[in-house]
Symmetry: C2
Subunit: 198 residues, 2 copies
């Protein structure tokens, strides 16, 4: 947990945030816009492992699924809530094109179920963070993979590197069942509504 906390609290976060606010009253130059849309959120080691993305909790949230322990014989593939984010530049590109851009990064962060009862009713309520995973679209680096998407697993929050997964681990299900270019947009209403072509 400490690495992530340090990451989120590092100096870049307030800068990003303040800039975000500033922008709402500042006209954007075409050159800045172009620069923004080129921004790369994925950085790799020489072995094509993924460095842990920074400040993804300030990216654009696209949806949450839950596969609770108690509905999966205490052994779900991903325990238990899945909070899913897309990097801001890819969100901007998605909104105008309806496509995932080159360099798109999608992060899935997992949390436990904290409780099943609350004043708002019976259900599932988020507990503690317990894992992260990511997928990156990169046609130069991963041109042999379906849709040029590579999948990465992080052993812990302290792990600086996400390990490139075998094709069988992730892309099989994503290729077979995801509605849109390997992404499960059928579960992400924010992506569906954000697509300007719809």
């Amino acid at each position: 947990m400490s690495f992530l906390k340090k990451t989120l609290l590092a100096s870049i976060a307030p800068i990003v945030l303040s800039g975000m606010l500033m922008s709402q009253s500042t006209p954007i130059e075409a050159s800045d816009k172009h620069h923004g849309h080129d921004k790369r959120y994925a950085k790799f080691t020489k072995d094509n492992d993924l460095l842990q993305p920074r400040d993804y909790r300030e990216w654009v949230f696209v949806g949450t699924s839950i596969t609770p322990n108690d509905m999966n014989d205490d052994n779900p593939a991903f325990p238990e809530f899945h909070n899913v984010y897309i990097d801001p530049a890819s969100w901007g590109h998605w909104k105008v094109s309806g496509e995932f851009r080159e360099g798109a990064v999608i992060v899935k962060e997992l949390t436990s179920v904290g409780t099943k009862e609350a004043p708002s009713g019976n259900g599932y309520f988020q507990g503690e963070f317990n894992g992260i995973a990511a997928m990156v679209k990169d046609s130069k680096r991963f041109d042999d993979k379906p849709g040029s998407w590579a999948f990465f697993g992080f052993e812990s929050y302290e792990a600086r590197q996400g390990i490139l997964q075998d094709d069988a681990s992730c892309s099989g299900c994503h290729k077979a069942s995801a509605a849109d270019d390997m992404v499960f947009t059928q579960f992400y209403p924010v992506l569906r509504a954000g697509k300007s072509s719809e």
Copy 2:
């Protein structure tokens, strides 16, 4: 749906986004930072109803709870997923102070359950948007309310105004059970982890 889509796709959204990206490579002046932290996301009618917040899907996501129909006799208080966001300026303030600033806006957007089975397991997966609600902290306008938080309900996405709720409707439960200044931070790991004082 159409109003919200129009809202999200209005010209402000790309400007905000591009600025957000630009900011990551642009030093922020102290004056801009100050300006950003003063930004007000809540706007009211003369009757103290809340104008529907704009572009909240690009704010900071703090967590999702779910109170599904099938766990609440088909009549949950909030059907069914609750995606919760805080405005970016209040997130920035929270990170450094651990407090909800004057003017803080928290939006809860609801979605149906789309399916209970997916390749990742059994559980609950988001379907379509079906409601929004919001709370705003404003000590001048709502000094008679617990913590100066007022609660608003929107009849639909087309409703431009969120109607100020009776104290009994919302603030009773929030006051009795929310962990931190009327906010259920016990269900929002992003808020807990983002608090720099922890």
